[in-house]
Subunit: 472 residues, 2 copies
């Protein structure tokens, strides 16, 4: 790992790029932007990856805009990179071969809400907070919450999930259908509003998680849920990390429909206490949320308290009062800032892995030991009901030695997760950062299949080149 | 529609077929079978499609067998058709171009059960009943129930679902990872045991529902659930079909986690009363199942009864006693036989469509009117929580006029569902029977994408040719 790890790719010939930009300028006027500042804003900068700005940015306002950008770029063999809010974490919006970024923030219309069917149809630039604001009066909500106020197009493209995936699934489970602009500008419709279908290959899932490498999502049909009558929050400290994981396994196996179940390791609780002025016991902590009727929520909390007590969980407290819920979740929501405050000025390298839940305790304990051995600071939070956890490693990017130890740590973390039957990324995606781990996880035949699909659907290699698939 | 609707495809040259069979005989001895009786058993005969037997059947016992069959067939350009239990409904196991059927029934080992992780690893020939028998002692079960005791490999390949998909999802939501034998005999691993992943293209979902046209599934990792503490069954008659659908919508929107919610229309209740000697009111009926703790199940039933009463539902009764549950579900389980008994000797043409739930009442009412107009008999049962319903049309395949009216009915049913934002098949798949409807549902660009994927992953077109994709 270093700030120069991601190699630039061969760029289009200057005449190709000039031709594309000329055509885009004629079509889009001042919605085509080539200023350095705007280009820089569209290069990925949220982690340790080097920003690689596009050559130009087009502010798209309608599907026809996407179609025309793609057609022009295809004609000139210039890359096209879709951009939502730029909150991806593995370099998904970087432009290693240059090219044109399509900024979709203005494609933020909610085209239809079907509350009876629990679905809605939206443009890709709609963010999850704006969507839920819009939906609130109709008694429905969209459940996926990756933390950032990301765009739904981006969330679909990275197969995002977050804290309440344990109950409601990830973007994989919550996209019903897409419209996708393909390389010649035509639109692929991947499904209908029917809740289930056996009609042909599952193109919807092929584009969900493809990180914009197979086409540009221009419309999404996504599932909604009824807003629960009652929401309760709970916190429970454990004497051991194994105990916290065991309680989680029992809860899932018993079928308690927890809406959120988040682990904070000892280091994270310490950081949170310091930053958020809390007095939580500095031992592994589970934060939970229950959704349902008042009776269901009470029963779920009671049942979980019993299971937790069997696993060394103590001080279980739960509440349905909104201000109390906020207090309990404070530590989780401020986790990033609490880590940042441990060492002002240092960068945070965020990463995630996901393992079968039975191996979670082992994986976290070994990871903690590794951090200690390498002299690194990286509190851990986890979407523990899914076996998914995050390390937020503090690092000075100018400290060569620390970065080398960080690199070793990251490698070992991924290999540990994979050796336990897990994946190198539960929700951040592959992007640029994790390409080297894909073959170790799935083997060369899976990579061949992915390359064949990429070649089949994007023969010109114009869609977000340099992402997901490692160089051959 | 007629018994000769499915045109044969060009077959391999005789020397190619002879070469393949010679090589297979050398490798498999008496596990290669070419008798007419066995070939006929492996041709699809459960609906109106013409049986098209393969040229030979190989009884596979291990992954290496599948690999060798595929390698030999690829070398001789001979089709390969995977066969589980032969219970698919749209001609998925027919051999319109001839070729070699791989019978996977003996690949029925359960390779690993991870009760803590709620997953298991199995061979493709394991059937759902055998699996649940094996799992019972460990407190877990596999929830997908398409009716038939199908093999899990076949269920994955057709993206099967059934009565409790409303709560537990379909095969789409319940396959974690696959191993798939590709055209050169190498094995593609599509995922890990991690509950979620953002690692590259979603190959798992690409093979789920591909009907064996992209490779042969040799291993599945599937999700399990904890066996619920309490199971309750309920029945509720409605004065109108709209009322039954409205009660279902309210239940789903309120978040009542019904495990099953099945609609029987008036014609089906009449047939069931006659066949099963029941005295149900001959009006639309909902049959329900609730899973949870005793308290949860009681609360769910109570809440549903309130909603149903608002929608004209009466005579709601529920029970947790197994023999009572069986009695209540009798009408549903015997639906096929009850229809069959209406006209002994006639065939049953089974079909399914799926619409957004808000359109279900309209769709069923219009379908009933159409049947009446055309003088056809076809009781309707529906997985109403998903907007999915089945028509079981009685037809004499030798009656040209009746078959013509049946054909018109089927066309209109599919077009009606598609016009309402639905799909031509919720769970039976495309196979041979529904190819002509795919372009109307998704448009030519989606078909192009599917053809490109097929070409990319099966360039020799040896995997189950003549399925899903309509001839160009």
């Amino acid at each position: 790992m270093s700030m120069t790890a991601t190699k630039p790719l061969p760029r289009p010939e200057p005449h190709q790029l000039a031709g594309a930009i000329e055509a885009l300028a004629a079509r889009f006027g001042n919605r085509l932007i080539t200023s350095q500042a705007v280009r820089d804003q569209h290069a990925h900068t949220t982690t340790w990856l080097v920003p690689q700005p596009p050559d130009a940015v087009v502010m798209a306002e309608a599907t026809a805009d996407i179609q025309d950008v793609v057609r022009i770029c295809a004609a000139h063999r210039v890359p096209v990179i879709a951009f939502g809010t730029g909150t991806s974490l593995e370099g998904q919006v970087n432009a290693p071969a240059g090219g044109v970024c399509i900024d979709l923030r203005d494609m933020n219309r909610i085209l239809a809400v079907h509350a009876d069917d629990l679905d809605c149809v939206i443009e890709p630039g709609v963010t999850r907070k704006a969507l839920n604001e819009h939906l609130r009066d109709q008694g429905v909500f969209f459940p996926i919450d990756p933390g950032a106020d990301a765009s739904l197009g981006g969330m679909a493209s990275t197969r995002a999930s977050g804290t309440n995936a344990v109950r409601y699934g990830t973007m994989r489970e919550n996209v019903l259908a897409l419209k996708v602009v393909r390389g010649d500008g035509e639109i692929i419709t991947t499904g209908t509003r029917a809740k289930k279908s056996s009609a042909g290959y599952d193109l919807t899932h092929l584009f969900v998680g493809a990180e914009g490498t197979l086409g540009i999502i221009s419309e999404l049909t996504i599932k909604l849920r009824g807003i629960p009558e009652t929401i309760a929050a709970a916190a429970c400290s454990f004497t051991t990390l194994e105990g916290a994981c065991r309680a989680t396994i029992l809860a899932i196996q018993t079928g308690i429909p927890v809406a959120r179940i988040e682990l904070l390791n000892e280091a994270q609780v310490q950081a949170s206490n310091a930053y958020s002025k809390l007095t939580l016991p500095e031992t592994p902590l589970l934060l939970l949320e229950f959704h349902g009727t008042a009776d269901e929520v009470a029963a779920q909390s009671r049942l979980f308290a019993e299971l937790a007590a069997e696993c060394g969980g103590g001080g279980f407290e739960w509440t349905t009062r909104p201000e109390e819920r906020t207090r309990l979740w404070q530590a989780r929501h401020d986790a990033y800032w609490s880590v940042k405050s441990l060492r002002p000025g240092a960068g945070i390298v965020a990463t995630d892995v996901c393992v079968p839940i039975s191996r979670l305790a082992d994986c976290v304990v070994e990871t903690e030991a590794d951090l200690k051995r390498l002299g690194l600071v990286s509190p851990i939070v986890g979407h523990v009901g899914d076996g998914n956890f995050h390390c937020s490693m503090l690092a000075d990017v100018n400290d060569v030695d620390e970065m080398a130890r960080g690199e070793e740590f990251m490698h070992r973390l991924v290999e540990r997760a994979q050796a336990m039957g897990g994946t190198c990324t539960g929700e951040h995606g592959i992007g640029q950062g994790k390409q080297k781990y894909l073959v170790g996880e799935l083997g060369p035949a899976a990579l061949d299949a992915m390359r064949a699909v990429k070649q089949a659907l994007d023969p010109l290699n114009i869609f977000n080149p340099g992402k997901i698939l490692p160089p051959q």
